[in-house]
Subunit: 254 residues, 2 copies
DNA sequence: CCTTATTCGCGTATGACATACGCGAATTAG
DNA sequence: CTAATTCGCGTATGTCATACGCGAATAAGG
């Protein structure tokens, strides 16, 4: 599944993210750069994640892309986990200066940016983002977002909860969407064909009388796209935020 | 990560889920049952997923738990992917007859049940659930849920979108939560210690002046639990649903 | 009771993977 | 020119899913 990265060395990742890139004065000059490796890794991951999960991204495939031996990468990166940390920060570029408007427009723009990120880099939503490594880009993005949301008059703590809930929602939908696109690309079986395979089983189940409600549902009940679903849920969530902002629940603000 | 299961044979999974379990009249009697295998797999996964991802669940570990050879499992299950399908349906037991009340209480009960499922089986939220195999349990759950939500007066299609959006939200938060608990269990580094490691970097970044907004935030801004976050977002989402039900957006209902 | 068709248990082999270790090559300071 | 230093990466280890096929266990038919 979602593949998460396990025993990363936090200190080393931080050094790699923020550390100086000065070369040592002696010794054989390096043939690679950390940046080149990260960029190549993102490239390969973008291609592979169209059909496979993150576990398909191997150190070998990255090395091959760069035309070097597999073990050469380990001179620059402690391991795959730390490389993932770097890929994350590499891919988060904060959009320029868009989204004028109130908190709702700002939040919506952030959500759509996040959504696009997940679709453009179909591995992104599958990386373990608990305990995020705060890289420069992630930091800048959060800073700007909070600044733009402050005028809503919500305390910072609640603001962070609003952002977190939205992030988790966006990634939840995106993950399912990406999974589906993958299944289609990998198996060559379209969505319609997939449901066609299940149909006999479903029909039989329906006629059993065990599922009276679903048996009576129209055929087009399930015909909505992930984009539609995404926008629908987002609008509902923001409507809920709006109600909360005008009439805050005293329990949550504390 | 999220590790998802790839080339599953849909037809065979369906047969395994709904098919007859009659033994053939001849030949050596089987030492195992499909049910025993699935139950063992869930047990092992529940233990392993406390600290590791789904990729740590190996066919060998399941076989060892059962006291049989690894390859014996393949007499009962085509592969790991199909076994995951079976594990999913095995773990979804529909709760008895709770949650009297309006649509809001029913939805909230469903969300909390889903939430608990993700926490009790820390691998659940990481399985590829696009193109779900409709097993008997999944089917019954959806059927009941829809039946109880019908009185809200929303058309079925919108109802399904409400359910889907909520599911994706719940799994999004749950995934982050589980990831964090894993990180803590695996590394032995508590959450506080983790942030302590990052603090010097953060302090330096703050004093750089590049992140003025975050630099001014109170220390307790990030001090909310995942449970709090979950309930907060859920309430907002339902508030949004409420607004939609009383004043539906003509675009979405179609 | 014995033969034979059938089914099962699972050992072995294959080809992926991350990565520890350490050697030889490349480079530069002195 | 030599020594210190750093790099490239081959080899080896231990993990994984799983294809293949053999020998063992069983029950029906004679």
């Amino acid at each position: 599944m979602t593949t998460e990265h396990g025993g990363r060395d936090l200190g080393r990742s931080l050094k790699l993210l923020w550390g100086d890139t000065a070369r040592p004065p002696r010794g054989r000059p390096p043939a690679l750069t950390l940046d080149r490796i990260v960029a190549a890794a993102v490239e390969v991951a973008d291609e592979l994640a169209r059909t496979e999960g993150l576990e398909a991204l191997s150190m070998r495939s990255i090395a091959t892309r760069l035309g070097v031996g597999t073990m050469s990468l380990y001179r620059y990166v402690p391991g795959k986990s730390e490389l993932l940390d770097l890929m994350l920060d590499h891919v988060i570029d904060v959009p320029g200066e868009d989204a004028e408007g109130g908190w709702r427009e700002v939040l919506a723009a952030d959500a759509r940016h996040h959504w696009r990120l997940c679709l453009d880099h179909p591995w992104y939503a599958f990386v373990d983002q608990s305990r995020p490594l705060l890289g420069p880009n992630a930091m800048r993005g959060l800073d700007r977002l909070v600044a733009r949301l402050r005028p809503a008059g919500v305390d910072d703590r609640t603001l962070l909860m609003m952002i977190s809930a939205q992030n988790d929602y966006v990634e939840g939908v995106a993950r399912r969407y990406v999974n589906e696109r993958r299944a289609e690309a990998r198996t060559g079986v379209s969505n319609e064909e997939f449901w066609a395979v299940q149909e006999p089983t479903i029909v039989k189940a329906m006629s059993s009388g065990d599922y009276p409600t679903m048996a009576g549902m129209a055929d087009n009940t399930f015909d909505f796209s992930y984009e539609q679903l995404f926008e629908f849920g987002l609008t509902r969530l923001h409507d809920g935020y709006a109600a909360f902002i005008t009439t805050p629940d005293p329990h949550q603000t504390g």
